[in-house]
């Protein structure tokens, strides 16, 4: 599998605090990559750097929505000073909305950010702003009700309907998003991100607050997105059963540094990961406590 996102030497400092320290990893096409680590390890900061909500202090983030990542091409693009060309983008140079629109990276949020006063259907239509906007010709064709715009709107509604059916929310299409139960809101946010046609979908703790049944549904949905919709996934997750079950590739962060990177089984067996994240064995804790004199 070829990589579609390459993060190189990513560093993010907030004043004196280094939240992300020289992190490099790849997300491969057609795979689910999980980013895990204890609280405060810098996972969400990495996400915010990739999606343009933060400007990284140092490092390079290359993204090829369709083609393949080629090191020579990335270097040439870096030297040229451009944000992107020929289907290759340097995300650290782009504003957030361009990353979503041009580099086709969509995201969800840890604390759900739906348009709560708009219906579930409207949420999915807003996500298709770009194609609808160009069909509405600066809104003038749309104001005039041109057939071209009507066709585009019908296509957008069809796509929204397909996604609402996919996440079993078609019956609540006309309900305000804010009135939906929590689990439905999580699925709707993922569907909304998918309506923006991403090549890479970044999910920030999609299973947070879900019960085991909903988690299982979510796992199935993530697999379906990977297999049927030609999108790769990058997810932050605390629920280890979800991570181990669904991901093809796991990257582990601790204190802003990458401590492991590999297949789920290999990462689970990595002593550094066990110590940092999955829990230090009790006898080791006792040894450390003795050492620091606690």
């Amino acid at each position: 599998m070829t990589a579609l996102l390459r993060v190189e030497h990513l560093t993010m400092r907030f004043g004196g605090l280094t939240a992300v320290n020289d992190v490099s990893f790849e997300a491969r096409r057609g795979e689910i990559t999980a980013l895990i680590g204890p609280n405060g390890a810098g996972k969400t900061t990495v996400f915010n750097c990739i999606t343009g909500f933060y400007k990284p202090t140092a490092g390079r983030i290359a993204m090829a929505p369709q083609g393949a990542l080629d090191t020579a091409a990335i270097d040439a693009l870096t030297r040229s000073g451009a944000r992107g060309r020929n289907g290759l983008f340097l995300l650290e140079r782009m504003p957030d909305h361009e990353i979503a629109r041009k580099a086709h990276v969509a995201r969800t949020f840890q604390n759900i950010r739906l348009f709560s006063g708009m219906t579930a259907l409207e949420n999915l239509v807003v996500a298709q702003h770009e194609p609808l906007m160009s069909a509405s010709g600066f809104s003038l064709l749309g104001l005039a009700g041109a057939p071209r715009y009507r066709r585009a709107e019908r296509a957008a509604l069809d796509k929204a309907r397909a996604w609402l059916e996919r996440i079993q929310l078609i019956d609540r299409a006309d309900d305000p998003a804010g009135a939906l139960p929590y689990g439905d809101q999580r699925r709707l946010e993922i569907a909304r991100a998918m309506c923006a046609d991403p090549a890479l979908l970044c999910l920030d703790e999609p299973a947070a607050g879900l019960n085991p049944r909903e988690s299982a549904d979510l796992t199935a949905l993530l697999r379906a997105i990977r297999d049927e919709h030609d999108a790769s996934l990058l997810l932050i997750e605390h629920d280890m059963s979800v991570v181990m079950d669904v991901s093809d590739h796991v990257v582990v962060l601790d204190y802003g540094r990458k401590i492991a990177d590999g297949a789920p089984a290999a990462v689970r067996a990595d002593p550094a990961v066990i110590a940092a994240y999955l829990g230090v064995p009790d006898d080791e804790v006792a040894a450390i406590e003795q050492e620091i004199g606690a």
Binding site: A106, R113, F115, G117, M118, L121, M133, D174, P176, A179
Partner: protein, 438 residues
């Protein structure tokens, strides 16, 4: 007994408030000396009013907090018929006024109650795009009204450009200024946005006051050419509108024409806003109001979204300004002070942000309500010849605001109608809809 204590407390508070303002009145005596003239009876009246008012409120059954439904059904057909009847009344208003009040009495009813209210309806609909849909609090909207008015005033008096060419120009110029204001405030939110827009409104007014060589300062621009009926002036001469149509000349022709002109402009504003709401641009405005960060994550350029909202709102303000100039025949900076911005914003907030019909009703209530105070001259027989009901205009508007914010904090029309639906569209309850960050 339990009800007495709150009533007594209310009376005491009323006493505290009334003592400096009502009870102590200063006046000049014959020797031009300042004398204190106590009015204890007035203060006692205020206290009694507070006491018995509180007592009466306490006697009312306690209001049950009703759970706001997330959604309500689409308004039934009856409401649609009421809306149609309202539209018919508005369309026939000048003729009804002529029929019931006669040619001389109708002037007031068409001009003060028709044209005046419709100007504010249009302004409030324009501001509704910025405040109601995009959720950006604009306290300087009157600046665009001023730009439109001065655009027509200057272009017509200096270069003799006709109203029909100036009208779109005024809108474009105002939209341009809207974008110009939009740029510096793009990063601002909430209170900061409100303050900068407020300052912008004042800057425009002060520039108009002090740029005397262009705007003639405080004296304003007078003898602005009147509107013509597509080239036919409303004059008594042989080339006038009346002569052309074989009518007897009457100044009311011009007023009726202005009425239909502003009605058409207001309906255009409404039509464009309603259509835009269902287009991607309108949905982007509402999405911006709901969650700006989510908008950016979905690839919406929030800069453009905000600028289009500012520009479109400003454009309709500019149209209304050009109309104002052609109606008055005179513009001066004093017509564009902060009170105007505040009034327009009050209309939008009272009507219900984002609701077209609610805003129109609020304009009728606030502007029509303050006009109708002039009709209450009969109160002079009760309160004496010095009593002027129009002096109480702002007091009543303030009371209405306080009452509304208590009982219907989201305005007359609280619900939001979805822009698209698969089945039966239902109104969305106010508790779901965000108010924007500014």
């Amino acid at each position: 007994m339990n009800a007495l204590w709150p009533a007594l407390r209310a009376a005491l508070i009323a006493a505290g408030l009334a003592f400096p303002v009502v009870a102590l009145r200063t006046d000049l005596n014959m020797d031009n000396q300042l004398v204190l003239e106590p009015r204890w009876s007035w203060m006692l009246a205020a206290m009694a009013l507070a006491f018995f008012g509180k007592l009466a409120l306490g006697a009312l059954p306690a209001r049950k907090p009703k759970a706001a439904p997330a959604q309500t059904a689409e308004p039934p057909a009856r409401t649609k018929w009421i809306a149609r009847a309202g539209l018919a009344l508005i369309a026939l208003w000048p003729f009804l006024a002529l029929f019931f009040a006669g040619p001389s009495g109708a002037l007031k009813w068409i001009d003060n109650y028709g044209v005046q209210i419709l100007i504010y309806v249009m302004l409030a609909w324009g501001l509704n795009i910025v405040v109601g849909l995009a959720g950006l609090l604009d306290l300087g909207y009157v600046a665009f009204y001023a730009v439109g008015a001065y655009a027509y005033a200057l272009l017509s008096t200096q270069y003799g450009v006709s109203f029909w060419i100036c009208l779109p120009l005024a809108g474009i110029l105002a939209a341009f200024w809207g974008v110009l204001l939009g740029f510096p405030v793009l990063r601002l939110r909430g209170d900061y946005l409100a303050i900068v827009t407020l300052a912008f409104g004042e800057i425009i007014r002060i520039v108009l006051t002090n740029f005397s060589s262009l705007t003639n300062g405080d004296a304003g621009i007078a003898s602005i050419p009147r509107a013509t009926f597509f080239g036919l002036p409303f004059t008594a001469g042989p080339n006038g509108f009346a002569a052309f149509f074989g009518l007897k000349f009457s100044p009311i022709h011009r007023i009726v024409f202005l009425y239909y002109l502003i009605l058409a402009l207001a309906l255009l504003t409404n039509f464009v806003t309603l259509r835009l709401r269902r287009l991607p641009i309108g949905r982007a405005w509402e999405a911006l109001r709901e969650d700006e960060i989510a908008c950016r994550a979905l690839g919406l350029d929030t800069t453009k979204v905000k600028l289009t909202a500012f520009a479109l709102g400003a454009m309709f303000g500019g149209f209304a300004g050009a109309f104002f100039a052609v109606r008055q025949g005179f513009v001066s900076p004093s017509s564009f002070n902060f009170m105007e911005s505040a009034t327009i914003l009050a209309i939008v907030v009272l009507g219900g942000r984002g609701s077209q019909i609610g805003v129109a009703l609020a304009a009728v209530a606030i502007i029509g309500g303050s006009e109708i105070l002039r009709e209450f001259d009969f109160l002079k027989t009760i309160f004496g010849p010095d009593f002027d009901p129009t002096q109480y205009r702002m007091l009543l508007v303030g009371l209405a605001m306080v009452a509304m914010m208590n009982w219907r904090p989201r305005g007359l029309v609280e619900t939001r109608a979805p822009t698209v639906s698969f089945g039966q569209a239902r109104q969305i309850g106010a508790d779901m809809v965000k108010e924007g960050h500014g």
